[in-house]
């Protein structure tokens, strides 16, 4: 019995000792090793005559940004358009340091090649090259306001169009009704939260390769002409339907498509301890970010 008593006492002792503040522990480790790099951010559209480039640097995962200046004022930017050096580069102080404005000699057009090299003390030289993508032929665009019902019972409109191209093409689609993007809907499928820009109403494509109901890839193996069928929420409560429905289509280059898709996946996996982490894809050599290129055109109904 002595053995039993001692065993049980020991068990109780450890039980009470062990449970105190057990489940969550802050662990002290050496921060994972990393090499700071330049992040290049720029967005251009076909027809732009200037480019804004924002430069920042990466920091360690355990560093607090309040204590570190991540902007890169005074960086050296070597910029070429179609192989020609462009020197009309100005550094701006607004809205923050690290903003650079590049005046282009002519409006950007399909096939233009942009090359950028960024040099900054103590950071590896970052380089990026982008080409303004071709605009695929989009035809037979149809909009059917009464397009049936969605899985959740909501009424939808149907959109179809044909896309013809000989090479891999990437694009994103948004729908705007009466010049308004609808951000969210109420229980009766009425637009309850408007936004004048940015939050576009998505199209649910039947094509399973479409990411985030927005980003579409027509691969080189697809038929030359491919029909896309999508549905979008029908919108009833916008007064005066005179402005109609507008479908906006942006063609992207492959790097921008990959960036957008990885960003979508990144947010999907955030805060899920069991999900596989996602890296944002970049076409910057020795750096992060990239030049995002959009060719925007739209169809009105």
């Amino acid at each position: 019995m002595k053995i039993i008593n001692k065993f049980l006492m020991l068990l109780c002792f450890f039980t009470f000792l062990g449970c105190e503040d057990f489940f969550e522990t802050t662990i002290e480790i050496d921060p994972p090793k990393y090499e700071p790099r330049i992040a290049i951010n720029s967005v251009v559209e076909n027809g732009d005559t200037e480019m804004i480039v924002v430069l920042t640097k990466s920091t360690g995962i355990l560093e607090i940004e309040d204590n570190i200046d991540i902007t890169l004022p005074g960086a050296k930017i070597d910029f070429k358009l179609n192989g020609v050096n462009i020197t009309t580069i100005q550094e701006r102080r607004f809205p923050a340091e690290g903003y650079y404005e590049i005046d282009l000699p002519s409006a950007l057009k399909v096939g233009d090649k942009i090359e950028m090299k960024v040099t900054y003390p103590n950071l590896p030289v970052a380089e990026v090259t982008s080409i303004i993508p071709a605009i695929p032929t989009i035809s037979n665009v149809k909009y059917q306001q009464d397009g049936g019902k969605n899985i959740d019972g909501s009424e939808v409109s149907k959109i179809t169009f044909d896309l013809t191209s000989d090479v891999a093409s990437y694009f994103r689609c948004d729908v705007k009704i009466n010049s308004i993007y609808c951000r969210s809907f109420d229980t009766k499928n009425m637009c309850s939260n408007y936004d004048t820009a940015n939050y576009a109403q998505p199209i649910e494509f039947t094509d399973p390769s479409v990411i985030d109901a927005t980003f579409v890839k027509k691969s080189a193996n697809d038929p030359r002409t491919k029909t896309y069928i999508g549905t979008t929420y029908r919108n009833f409560n916008i007064a005066g339907s005179s402005k109609g429905t507008e479908i906006e289509i942006y063609t992207l280059d492959e790097a921008t498509y990959n960036y957008e898709v990885s960003k979508f996946l990144y947010y999907q996996s955030t805060d899920n301890p069991f999900a596989t982490p996602v890296n944002i894809k970049s076409n910057v050599k020795n750096g992060y970010g990239g030049i995002q290129i959009y060719n925007k055109f739209s169809f009105k109904f």
Binding site: I3, F7, G18, P32, N41, V43, I61, I151, Q268
Partner: protein, 810 residues
């Protein structure tokens, strides 16, 4: 054209000639194997003397010549010896008395033997030299743990767990804290063929992986094969876990009851017709939901609601077997297990009464019908029909009753269903022409139905007279898997023995047929001083894949087939090792292995489970390799029994679509792994047991840096974290000690056992996962300003968890 036409006519003739020639040669070989010298065959079954339960793997040998064999999965043996007026046979089996039998061998003899279990403190009277020694066996990379040993191992919450016992063996790793999943020699969770009475079990865990579905009271034996796979096994790359249910006592009624902290178990067995028909039935159920019910009801009452919430799982095992004659025996076994989590609420209000019903349930249903037939004293055949069904079902049903006090109802229901269903048939032959050969051959056919996930949507509003129903998701996929095999365990010389075989498999899906011819060979060579050198080579192919988050056994894990797009997984494994018995009580094995795998399947970055798109778009295929060394020292008999295992290993993966195909460590790449398991019988009434495990921390993916971008379209300042490499960081090493003590007392009608113990006895904070968190650096300074500080935070699951259970065997 003419040549082509001739070929059309000639080729079938050539094929026929070739086939006849092959059959002729094979027949001559078989005849020649039978007819050298004047020999007679002794055959029969070996059973437990108390229950008539058939014993698997009993060594039956002739001490004068050293010739011998072992009983098959149904306790049958066949041994052909030279004619003798009198000779002696020895029957040797762990935990049973070594038994000798004198016979006259002047004609073929049928000899059924009952072995008596040892009842003393594990000490066995040695009356003959033991033959079942590790160095004599051809098979390497195999481990057998007796259920009695498993029951002595301390367990989480006292739930004795077969799969968790296997995790304590070298080369086998656990998925995470408390998880019952196994990862063998760098393989994935889906690469283990876990079969119960020959039927694959697809989701072998309860309670999100914390317990396995195998109720130890219903289990007869467990065998794990990690490499050197004999040709009779196929369909998975990394391991075979072969579990057999008890058959039921043929002689008398008996059973056991066990009451534990979270579940209770009952097992009954006995003869239906004495020595002819027996049954075994076993049930287990948790009762967390029952115990918590009063507290939950109180909470509901406070919220002016009624309903219930809870979680439970249960298992039912049933087996019946009937002996038609000494030649024919029929077995029928069923397993049915289910987990269910549910929440039901209903407002007590009479008007606009909201209701909500949510449930998540999953479970396996398997059954097997087996017919054993002794064709003659050298040929044994087992025919099996199998069914295995796994289902996951989620139901969400909510709405409002009696809207505006007018009995109108608004209801929305969303159901999800996924699973896999197998119907199979197989035939296995054991042919023992002489003591030098043990030939096994057979064929198997399985009809798979994969259900990759469907949503059913229903919406109704009786006030607005509105009804909507829809089904979205993927269609069921049907496929057929065929396999055939032949192998021979061949004593070439007194020192050299090989097991060579071929496994052929075919898989038909979506109009596409895959085929594979898989050579298997194992060899052992006896060295001086009871050492033997063993080596093996095996190729394996796998046509089904599990889409799962690594490390945790979730019911949402989805089985999917290889398709025209997704290629079958392939692997080959080579191993070399040494084995030795040290005295009669210790066994030592040292093995090194290398395994190469290709067409492994993994989720793409960010992909999830509850998606309606084609699952094939969510996966990537890549390759992997694993290599290492394992040391295993085991003591099976005596007052002190247990083992020490050590593994040094590497496991890597590479996927072209992940980080440009860079090789990265597998999540369960664990450099060092140590397990020490021991139980000691202090007296007939008290035994103590303990385990200690240590393992290098699992590899996890942590961000190394972060950067900000200005998003062009949305114009938002966003932060992205950078992951330099998959699995670039190690969790802290895992170590844990479990202890237990059993008090056994013989009572009037049986044996009573009280068990006490503790899981994680010194309450080590083992990592479950870690994440980057932001905390206040001035947290402990009163009236100070918030000062953010980024830290790594580790989540641990189990501190010391004591357990107690009461059991009664009668």
């Amino acid at each position: 054209m003419t040549i082509a036409r001739y070929c059309i006519y000639i080729l079938p003739i050539v094929k026929k000639i070739f086939m006849y020639k092959f059959l002729f040669t094979f027949s001559i070989l078989l005849i020649s194997l039978q007819n050298y010298g004047q020999k007679f065959t002794i055959s029969g079954y070996v059973s437990d003397s108390a229950s008539s339960e058939k014993l698997i793997g009993v060594s039956v040998y002739h001490p004068a010549t050293g010739e011998g064999t072992i009983t098959n999965n149904f306790g049958f043996y066949s041994l052909t010896l030279d004619k003798k007026t009198e000779t002696t046979l020895v029957f040797d089996y762990i935990d049973y008395m070594l038994t000798t039998k004198k016979i006259k061998l002047t004609k073929a003899v049928q000899l059924n033997i009952d072995l008596q279990q040892t009842v003393s403190l594990g000490e066995v009277e040695i009356i003959a030299e033991k033959q079942k020694r590790i160095e004599n066996e051809t098979q390497m990379s195999v481990a057998e743990i007796s259920v009695s040993q498993i029951k002595k191992i301390p367990a989480l919450l006292g739930e004795v767990d077969v799969l968790k016992a296997l995790q304590l063996l070298p080369g086998v790793k656990t998925g995470g804290e408390g998880q019952s999943g196994i990862y063998v020699r760098g393989g994935g969770a889906d690469q283990n063929l876990i079969q119960l009475d020959g039927v694959p079990v697809y989701n072998a865990s309860h309670l999100f992986g914390f317990f396995s579905v195998f109720n130890s009271d219903a289990i007869k034996d467990v065998k794990l094969i990690k490499g050197g796979f004999p040709a009779r096994y196929g369909g998975r790359l990394s391991s075979v876990v072969d579990i057999n249910m008890k058959e039921g006592n043929m002689k008398k009624f008996g059973g056991s009851v066990n009451i534990g902290l979270i579940s209770s178990k009952l097992m009954l067995e006995g003869p239906i017709f004495k020595e002819k028909t027996s049954f075994m039935i076993s049930a287990r159920r948790t009762y967390i939901d029952v115990l918590a019910k009063p507290l939950i009801q109180q909470q509901f009452r406070e919220n002016e609601q009624e309903g219930g919430t809870g979680y439970y799982f249960y298992d039912l095992n049933f087996k019946v077997n009937h002996k038609f004659s000494n030649r024919d025996r029929l077995y029928f076994s069923i397993y049915n297990g289910t987990d269910k989590f549910y929440v039901n609420t209903k407002d007590k209000a009479t008007e606009n009464q909201d209701f909500n019903t949510t449930s998540l349930s999953w479970g396996n249903f398997t059954n097997a019908l087996r017919w054993n037939h002794i064709v003659n004293n050298k040929l044994f055949v087992n025919t099996t029909l199998t069914l295995s069904d796994y289902k996951l079902k989620t139901d969400f049903d909510f709405g409002t009753n009696n809207i505006d006090n007018k009995k109108n109802k608004e209801q929305i229901a969303l159901n999800y269903l996924s699973g896999i269903n197998d119907i199979g048939a197989k035939i296995d032959f054991d042919y023992v022409p002489n003591p030098s050969h043990f030939i096994k051959f057979g064929a198997n056919i399985i009809n798979h139905t994969f259900k990759p996930g469907k949503f059913f949507f229903y919406q109704e509003n009786t006030r607005d007279n509105y009804l909507f129903k829809d089904t979205v998701g993927q269609q069921n996929i049907k496929s057929m898997e065929y396999s055939a095999y032949a192998e021979d365990d061949w004593n070439i010389t007194s020192k050299l023995k090989i097991n060579a075989g071929l496994h052929l498999s075919l898989f038909n899906v979506d109009g596409k047929t895959y085929s594979s011819l898989q050579p298997r060979v194992s060899a052992r060579y006896l060295l001086p001083s009871s050492w033997s050198l063993k080596t093996s080579f095996a190729t394996m192919r796998q046509y089904i894949n599990l889409l799962a988050f690594e490390g945790i056994g979730l019911p949402t894990d989805l089985w999917v087939p290889s398709t025209a797009r997704i290629k079958p997984q392939d692997a080959w494994q080579g191993a070399v090792g040494l084995a030795k018995s040290i005295g009669d009580k210790y066994e030592l094995s040292i093995e090194g292995y290398y395994k190469k795998m290709k067409n492994l399947v993994a989720y793409k970055d960010g992909a999830g489970v509850f998606q309606t798109d084609d699952w094939q778009n969510r996966v990537v295929q890549g390759s992997g390799d694993a290599y290492g060394a394992e040391v295993f020292l085991q003591k099976k008999e005596g007052r002190l029994s247990g083992w020490v295992g050590y593994t040094l290993s590497w496991a890597n993966r590479s996927f072209p679509d992940i980080k440009n195909g860079e090789t990265f460590p597998y999540r369960f790449d664990r450099r060092h792994d140590i397990s020490i398991v021991g139980s000691y019988e202090i007296s007939k009434k008290v035994n103590i047991s303990g385990t200690w495990v240590y393992g290098t921390g699992n590899a996890v993916t942590l961000p190394t840096s972060k950067y900000r971008v200005v998003d062009g379209v949305n114009n938002f300042n966003q932060e992205f974290q950078v992951y330099d490499q998959r699995n670039n960081y190690r969790l802290a090493p895992y170590h844990r000690m479990d202890i237990g003590i059993n008090f056994v007392k013989q009572k009037k009608y049986g044996k009573r056992t009280f068990s006490f113990g503790a899981y994680n006895a010194y309450s080590n904070k083992n990592p479950f996962y870690i994440y980057v968190d932001t905390k206040n650096e001035n947290e402990n300074i009163p009236n100070s300003q918030y000062k953010p500080k980024k830290v790594l935070t580790q989540i641990s699951l189990f501190p010391i968890i004591p357990y107690v259970s009461w059991g009664y065997d009668f």
